[in-house]
Symmetry: C2
């Protein structure tokens, strides 16, 4: 009996556990202080009335014999897949059909499980800094080589630096990449790729037979017209890209759990349809999302639902503006926050040290950039999720620190 | 770029798709006939009032700023893990602590994803007949060798025959097995292992360093005192077994999605804790179950909830009794249905042929045993899920056929 030995290679402390540990230690010593948490990217506004009403109705349906729903289609109910195809794709001139959309319990699950489709021999490319789940999931699968303690990097991973110098736009890799993870609007930098910048990657993937795994979880925060909402706005993307979307940040579903992944039928590798493969994976190792949750997600697309979620997104966008402007006034170099709920700013020292300083002097919890990769070691991530008066107060405290 | 070539090896037609196809074809030709469906193991009774009330309350909480819940713990909320540990384990004298319980969206997901913990070099053993997901998930992972069209078996899988001759009790394998899938009460045979029979396997696993993957999804249907409700009732199981449980058949959650998996902290292989590994997997490739759903699952354990779900289970158990007795009177050799919602009976011909005959002559949809493996080719599975008058009518039609 042999275990999967990859687990033992994974570095110990998960970023957010370490943050929680430090905050708990500080709070234990200073019980009178109430830190403002701008660390974890979790929404704070409640579910909107249209969603609440739809879910309440669905709960009642589930409680009556005549309207009860047992197993649904593993891929998701048509009512939701149709609504997504119509509003998120066709309305933007993007040609994605309902049966290319797979409803799931979360983009994190899908980003992790998508590795099932690919040989472990593939070379992955990720940005540095990066959302840690992409790398950890590939490490579990055995696709990353060895973890190098000194650099905090994996031996077989191609890292694409995101720096102030390259405007946080990843450059094409020097060596061949098979699986390319791109996240735009980006977590953690809060910056976003324009159509032109993303086209470079679609062209590369099609030329090299690579597959782009495109994480668009923050799509709802885009404000600039040159930033695409979906990779399928780029010609050729249907032949090389899988897109991950989520209701978490769009409609406050972090605790309600609903997301979707698009695998176009025109995405073929080695003569096999990745759509057919994901369909097989989804029907074999998954059993669909709660009917109640799917009715809630459907309501996001109603006229009332759209109006209500846009108001919440505008609320967070205004928070982002306050943070951006406040930190700039305080003299920091600030990035992101225009097409994203994340603000990324330059730290005057090591990011874990600055984390401690901000906690101790300003009583504000941030996320140290080092947690996202070596290129983040002098940056901090701040999220715009939270109540406006807390955000205002946090910015004030940092400014006068 | 290389795909996972295992997918191409998977045999094409999934059992239930083929059944749906045949029923649709028959119905198209006979629009006046309304077949009674005893094929798919899906519950029909609605969610009980205690669950509906709890979920309605949780939906309201999610709609208010003060009581909104964002990301929960990936492993599940303590309120639910505590309720499970208390009612499903401690109350039966079984020593499982709340933090050995991982809440998930389904036993199918967990049974599929558990493979992530193990090397692909392990040899798996499954019963024949068997719930197809165990084998297909291992095939995707690359643990099953090649699919042999002629026999419908995989070259590297150890098959443990379940036959009338061995009372559907799997015998220890002749060659070494690393990962052993056991399902009791069993899908599809409807039979269950006694404490003594299960002890043989726990002893084998501990002697051979194997791991038992124990599927107890039908535990709520057990009526006989010698049948254990959990593998942890067997001494030594904490050192060799992972247990999968679900609210699907216990509380009608097939469309609501909640389950849990127990990985004891005392389960160690190659010096590594499988509990720690599963915790890492769960936090890396999963993001927890809906707060609303978890509140619904918690209500299953309330006094009212227990009384209500027991009434529904008794309803299905009475259906099982009707099927068992009716088929026996009709002259069939009938198994299962005493500790399970499934009845397994001997077919007088090939099971797909008998499926067609039952559909055409009795207008009853069953599941052909061949869909579960070669040893099922002369058996049929019937489920006790459904409305009592439909079940009664289906049995009558088969009897007079």
């Amino acid at each position: 009996m042999k275990i999967n030995e990859q687990y033992a290679k994974l570095p110990g402390n998960y970023l957010f556990s370490e943050i929680a540990r430090r905050v708990a230690a500080y709070s234990a010593e200073h019980p009178d202080v109430k830190p403002i948490r701008l660390g974890i990217g979790d929404v704070t506004r409640p579910l909107v009335p249209a969603v609440v009403e739809a879910m309440r109705k669905a709960v009642s349906e589930m409680g009556r014999l005549e309207t009860f729903h047992g197993y649904g289609p593993e891929q998701g109910y048509e009512f939701l897949r149709n609504a997504i195809a119509e509003h998120d794709f066709r309305a933007r001139g993007t040609d994605i059909s309902p049966d290319e959309i797979f409803i799931s319990d979360g983009a994190k699950s899908d980003c992790g499980n998508i590795g099932d489709l690919f040989s472990i021999e593939n070379k992955i490319a990720v940005c540095d800094p990066v959302y840690p789940v992409y790398v950890d999931a590939n490490a579990i699968d055995g696709r990353t080589g060895d973890y190098l303690q000194a650099s905090g990097k994996w031996s077989d991973v191609i890292y694409l630096p995101l720096t102030a110098e390259n405007d946080f736009v990843p450059e094409l890799p020097a060596s061949h990449a098979d699986l390319i993870y791109l996240c735009s609007p980006n977590n953690p930098t809060g910056t976003a790729l324009t159509r032109k910048q993303l086209s470079v990657w679609v062209e590369y993937a099609n030329q090299h037979g690579a597959v782009i795994l495109f994480d668009a979880a923050y799509e709802a925060y885009i404000t600039e017209p040159e930033v695409p909402h979906s990779i399928y706005e780029i010609p050729g993307a249907r032949e090389c890209a899988i897109e991950f979307r989520s209701f978490s940040k769009t409609a406050g579903f972090t605790g309600t759990r609903c997301a979707f992944t698009v695998v176009p039928k025109t995405l073929i590798r080695q003569g096999q349809s990745l759509h057919a493969m994901w369909n097989r994976r989804h029907t074999t190792k998954f059993n669909g999302v709660s009917y109640i949750t799917q009715r809630g997600a459907e309501a996001v697309y109603s006229q009332a639902g759209q109006k209500q979620i846009r108001a919440d997104i505008a609320y967070y966008q205004n928070n982002a503006r306050m943070i951006r402007e406040g930190l700039k006034q305080a003299g920091f170099s600030v990035y992101g926050g225009v097409n994203s709920p994340y603000i990324w700013f330059h730290a005057p020292m090591d990011s874990w040290k600055f984390f401690d300083l901000l906690l101790q002097k300003a009583h504000v919890v941030t996320t140290p950039g080092a947690g996202f990769g070596s290129r983040g070691r002098n940056y901090m991530r701040v999220t715009a999720f939270g109540e406006a008066n807390d955000i205002e107060e946090a910015v004030r405290r940092i400014t006068v620190m």
